[in-house]
Amino acid sequence: MRNHLRNRWIAATCVAVVGLTGSLRAQDAFTNEAVGYKVRPPDGYKKAPGGFSSFGFSFGADRYLLDTFENTRGIATKSGWDYKPRMYTLWFPARSAVEIKKAELEAEKAAKESAKEGDGPAVSFLVGGRVIQSFEEYAKDRITGFYFGDEKKQTIGEFPATLRPMIFEKLQNEPQRWLACSLNVPGGEFTILFSAPESHADKLRADFMNAFKSFKIVRDGGLLIPPLTEKIDVEKTPEIDRDTMSTDQIKQILAAEREKAFKKALDSMEKGWKSFETEHFLVLYETEQKYAKQAAQHAEDLRAWLETKFAGIGDGFEQSQILKVYKYDSSNSSNISITFRTGSGPTVQVIHFRQPVSKGHEAEFSNLNTSVMSNWFSQKNEELYQRMPRWLGSGLDGFIDDAEKTGGKLRFEADEWERDRMIDGFNAQKKWEKDKVGEPPMKELRDLLKMASKELWQGDSWTYTSAQCASVCRYLVEGPGSRGKYAAVLRNYITHLYTLVDEVEKRLKAEEEERKKLSAAQDSMSDEEKLAAEDEAYKKKRKDALDNVEKEILDKAYALTFGDWTDADWRAFHNSWEQYAAGRTK
């Protein structure tokens, strides 16, 4: 569907990182031993995590970008941003599509042969998709918001080179003019790229040129041209079929997978790392042991809490988990909050970066909390977790992410973000009560609990709604909503969800089977019958679209849990929550 956008006044994100004070001593040359080059960045440039910082750049794995450096001295811009110029090095080995295709065919052939022979190393094909042969192609493919200025050809050092300005004008808070120097070296094209605001592009040019001139190849035989294939060990993940296997069989398989995964993790542990095991985790760490044990214990405590609070949510089998605890590193500033679950199948990695936190702003283990929670729910009941109504899913996320241990007990106080949103929300609500224009910023619980994602996150009050969902979950799980007359509300709601999701999944499975049967029977149908069958299948598929299924589960769970509630019941419920929530904004 086309999407015409009227207003594209996008605030362009120049680099807006609050600077660290860097020393202004003469810069050392940087050597990349693996690829085989040396270059001297201008003074003040420090090694930084990879990836472009200009808006519009497509992120993700980039096989051409080698190293990134950032000028720790910011440039104050008119629009108030602190612009930090960056230097990037990129390498484009000369390869043709044919060469790559041949390698792909060889890899396929080797894979077939090793499959015939049984277990053994296979060959994986590293490169796929579009072949990029030059920086010009790369920039046009990967970077947006610019056009090339007049290019200049000259010799730099011993290499023919092309200098290309990159001009960023449109939809920018701060116009930029970058400079790329592409060197024609044996084996391909090597590029050094500098970013700069337009206001300083000319002043910085001399620094850029000096850096270009400092480039040298230091590897015998020229820059490394990475292979197109590599030998890898084939990992066969065993299949688990709950319909045909017994519980013991499944547990046995998972135990064997756990042992294998833990051994592999230990064997490939980085230098300087250490390990220990807890009941549910293999912990690998590079921090001090005390911190790693603290993180691991926190993860175990949270798991135990989930087992108590959400018992009966599902009977899924537990997967082994590896917890990696990284040191805080300022050069990883752009990755500071990354904690993610990687891998599918029996083994799951949970990664935690130790981060400096200001008290009250965010929980120390905020991201570890959400990973542990997400893994636990997925393992217990993946379908229910995926289909959980958004007020509950998002609310649990927001509430559990605040888990912290004080006095030996897990507590779930709202963090600064949530408190601020709730205060703003309540204030906006008071204002709305006067003129009643537009949607209320804070939702009545009787409305909130039946809102699908589309309704929850639309409009300008979505941040209040997000905070409100977390607050409601806190109220229901740990607050007054978990005791007394409302003690059964969440428990009943989840029990109903369990049944509803199970019914929906069975229905979808049956419909999929029916579609397959129809498809198989197509040969005996006339063209008109086939068309009618296709139209009918589409109507069912549309009915089962994610939005519709979400609404179906939401409406039914609501009706089953709150069907007999009166206006007075809702008023009392809402008031109870509101009183609790207001008390937590002080």
Partner: protein
């Protein structure tokens, strides 16, 4: 994967001093140019000869073509011609002349053509873009000037039509800058617009409009132009700092977006259908997903499906003589009446809009609507009466069905689009691919050959033709199919997608190993 058609740079100096890899060139009217090993001219076509095959190009698609190869020796066919050849004469351009004179003429023409090609190549880069101006607009563009001129005329006609209808006027000395890109890739890259954006009007200073030329579907180019320019025109119409409700902003942009343009008579005609939107809308209605009218009337921002709903509401109100004048009066009040109660527009705090409840009250009062739900039902009934009628509409319907895994229904719609002589090469490419998947390769060949006539140098069209031949599985068809696939690769040797199903034999042919 972005397709990048290889268009090599040829400088005049290189042409004269070094043998070029490919000596001949063709320049399409849409601005693309290609170097080919050899071209051969016939009365109505130019045939581009490659190592693995030849492609016939209808001359009506070309701006120019250039053959470095000499005119060759002339073979006399009768005594009279023999006598002239013996005197050292050759026929050229309808006359007999000495061979040296002919060769000089060819060399002069070649030089001019190379220079023209070079000039065009330079102007294809944004840094050396063309610039132009009309009474109400300034232009920066990289499309060929002949194409740009047509659109410049359109902008002025549109301004006139709108300003006469609505009374909008551009402030003196404040022409709107228009940036017009040669293709979508350049537009998205240079303008900074994200994927999925087809054009935009920047409504905060400095005002600017950015869009691109879609050579394969000129209707899309027009649609985006009409739509985005409409935002500018209503910006002129409205009191400064006042925002119209989204259903009017986008609904009217879509209403005008469907306008037709006759470049010969330089006339635009309104009230046409947004058939692509209609298809999505009817599907939503069939699924019970109806838009609540009251909700739509007070939204500050709307989603893609609501664009469609808004368009139908505007279409209904504009196309009915009984409501047209009232609707214009209503829009005028929202845009200019200072007495209507206003509040900050939720989309941007620098703007205000009429408070939604007041806007709805005024809506009902203007049209004499006592029962909004009853009016809503009339609106739904109006939508149900609209029908897809054009080849483009059927193409959109087919694409919609493909997205929803309805290949049989998609094929029906594609058939209709082809019967109506769709000018969009994508119709033929998508349909051809579908037919191969449906095990109808012979029919696929027929369709793809039609597509190739519209877009002869599209490597994907050539590739699919190759696949359709191979799918027939007889020896000669497989051989022919492979030839086409090898030819497709020659059109863009760096696109890995074109050799994804090459076997070892085919690979050996392109490596020479």
């Amino acid at each position: 994967m972005t397709r990048c058609l290889r268009v090599a740079l040829v400088s005049f100096a290189a042409m004269c001093s070094l043998p070029a890899a490919f000596a001949d060139s063709v320049l399409f009217r849409d601005g693309r140019y290609f170097e080919v090993p050899r071209i051969e001219e016939a009365e109505k076509t130019i045939t581009a000869h490659f190592k693995h095959g030849a492609i016939a190009i209808d001359k009506t698609l070309l701006q120019d073509w250039f053959a470095m190869t000499a005119a060759g020796e002339f073979e006399p066919r009768n005594d009279d011609e023999k006598a002239k050849v013996e005197k050292g004469l050759v026929p050229f351009d309808g006359k007999w002349m000495p061979k040296a004179q002919r060769d000089q003429t060819i060399a002069k023409r070649n030089k001019e053509r190379i220079e023209a090609f070079e000039t065009h190549k330079q102007h294809s880069e944004w840094r050396s873009r063309y610039k132009g101006e009309t009474p109400h607009f300034t232009f920066e563009y990289t499309v060929p000037p002949a194409i740009a001129k047509g659109y410049m005329d359109l902008f002025e006609v549109y301004y006139d039509v709108f300003s006469k209808e609505w009374g909008a006027k551009q402030p003196s000395g404040k022409k709107l800058p228009i940036c017009f890109y040669a293709n979508m890739d350049d537009f998205q890259r240079i303008s900074g617009a994200g994927g999925g954006v087809l054009g935009y009007f920047r409504f905060v200073e400095p005002l600017e409009l950015n869009f691109f030329y879609e050579r394969r579907d000129e209707r899309l180019t027009l649609d985006v132009l009409f739509h985005e320019t409409n935002h500018y025109l209503f910006h002129l119409f409205s009191k400064e700092g006042v925002q119209l409700p989204a259903w009017i902003e986008e609904g009217m942009a879509e209403y005008y977006g469907a306008s037709e343009w006759d470049p010969k008579s330089k006339k635009m005609s309104l009230g046409k259908l947004q058939e692509g939107r209609l298809i999505n809308l009817v599907d939503a209605m069939d699924g019970g997903d109806n838009q609540d009218l009251r909700d739509l009337l007070d939204e500050p921002r709307i989603d893609a499906l609501q664009y469609a709903w808004s368009w139908t509401l505007c279409h209904m109100l504009m196309e009915n003589k009984a409501t047209r004048a009232k609707f214009k009066e209503y829009v005028g009040k929202l845009a200019k009446d200072t007495k209507l109660p206003k509040e900050t527009w939720p989309g941007n705090s620098n703007f205000t809009w009429v408070k939604p409840d007041a806007a709805i009250d005024l809506f009902q009062k203007t049209f004499g609507i006592k029962d909004l739900e009853a009016f809503e039902a009339e609106w739904y009934a109006y939508i149900r009466k609209l029908e897809v009628q054009s080849d483009r509409g059927f193409h959109d319907a087919a694409m919609f069905c493909l997205r929803w895994d309805r290949p049989l229904r998609a094929a029906k719609y594609f058939e209709k689009a082809v019967e109506m002589y769709s000018k969009n090469p994508s119709t033929y490419l998508e349909y051809g691919q579908l037919l191969v998947r449906q095990d109808k390769p012979m029919e696929a060949v027929r369709i793809l050959e039609l597509g190739l006539k519209l877009d002869p140098m599209d490597p994907y069209m050539v590739r699919e033709l190759g696949r359709a031949h191979r799918a027939q599985e007889t020896e000669d068809k497989v051989t022919r199919g492979k030839q086409y696939q090898l030819l497709a690769w020659e059109l863009d040797p760096n696109d890995l997608g074109l050799i994804s199903d090459f076997d070892e034999e085919m690979l050996a042919k392109i490596t020479g190993s």
